[in-house]
Subunit: 190 residues, 2 copies
Amino acid sequence: MEKIDTRDRIIAIADDLFYQQGFEHTSFKDIANLLNISRGNFYHHFKTKDQILSGVIERRLKKTKAMLEEWEKQGDTPNQRIKCYIRIVDANWDKIKDFGCPVGTLSNELAKLNHLNRKDATKVFTLFREWLRKQFTQISHNIDADNLALQVLSWSQGIATMATAFQDKSYAEQEISKMCHWVDTYRREK
Amino acid sequence: MEKIDTRDRIIAIADDLFYQQGFEHTSFKDIANLLNISRGNFYHHFKTKDQILSGVIERRLKKTKAMLEEWEKQGDTPNQRIKCYIRIVDANWDKIKDFGCPVGTLSNELAKLNHLNRKDATKVFTLFREWLRKQFTQISHNIDADNLALQVLSWSQGIATMATAFQDKSYAEQEISKMCHWVDTYRREK
DNA sequence: GTCTATATAATGATAGAC
DNA sequence: GTCTATCATTATATAGAC
C-alpha cells in the first residue's frame, strides 16, 4: 500500500477540477498536466470521461459519508450536529465564493447536460438530506423532519449561490447565524 | 422593420441554449442548426463567442428591466409586487426543474470558467436586488431593505436548486407560499 | 448579408511499443 | 502500467466567392 494508486490520483485531481472548472470544461489534458502522466495512460484506468465522473461522484459519496459520521461524533445533541452542516458554508467560504457549492453546482451542470450521471450526483444531496432528517427526528417525532432537512439544504444552497454572485461574506455569516438560531427553536422533548 | 434582424435571432436562440445546455456546451453549430443559417454567417455579426454571451446578457438585462416595469404596474402594493418575483419559480417550474434558474446557473458557470463576463452576469441579479430593495423601502424605512432583498433572492435560489435536484413541485409550492406569508409580516406604516 | 471552403487547435479515444 | 504516436471529431475562427 506504499504506492499511491494512479486511478485514485486521477479521481482526486478530477474531483478538484470538476469542482473548480466544471465537469465539461475539464479536459484529460488538464488532469494529466497536474499529475505528470500522459493522456494515453488514462485509458488504462478509465474507458471514457464519464467513467471518471462516476468515480468522482463515488468518491464524493464516500467522503460525505465519512464527514457525516465524523459529525455524529463531534456533536453531542442533534441540534449541534445539524449546526455542523450549517457551518460548512462558512468553513469553505474561500472556495464557495469562487466556485459555488460542489454539490449544487454539479447537480445543475449535469442537469443542463442531461447527463446520464445526473441522478448519481443527486445522491450526494440525498445523503445530506437523510442525515439531516435523522437529526431532526432525534429532536422530535412531532415535526416533519424530511421537510426541515430540505429547508436546511435549500437555505444553504441559496447562501452559496449568493456567495458566488456577490461574494459578501458578512451576509453569509449573518444568514448562517440566523439558521443556527432557527435550528434551536426546535428543542428535544424531555 | 418587417425583416427580423439575424443578429437578434442569433442572440434569442443563444439565450435559450445557454440556459438549457450551458454557455460552454452550446456551439455555433447548435445555434446555426436551429436558425438554418451557416456557421460562417456568425462572424459577420459577432467576432467571438464571448461577444454572443455579452449580447445574451444584454438581452437578459433588457428583458428583466421590462419585466420589473411590468410588475410595477401589476402590483398595487409593494407586498404584491414582491410576490410577483416570488412566484416566478412556480410560473417557470417546468424549465427550472430541468435547467435551474437562468440567473443563478449562469452566474455559477461563469464563476467556474473565471470568465470575463462574470460580473456582467451578476448584473441581472443586481437588477432584481435593487428592485426588491426599492419595494421593501416602500413598505417601511425602518427595515434593512437591501438585506431583505438579498434574502428573497437567496431563498428563491435555494428553492430553484432543490427543484433541479429533486424535482419536488409540492415542496417548491410550499416554500413559495411560506415566502409570500413571510413578506406580509412586513406591513406598510399608516 | 449569406454562403462555401478552409485553417487551426483542442477534444475524447485507440493502437501498439516498451 | 506507462508511454508515444495517431485517429476521428468537433470547436472557434478566417478568407473569399456570390
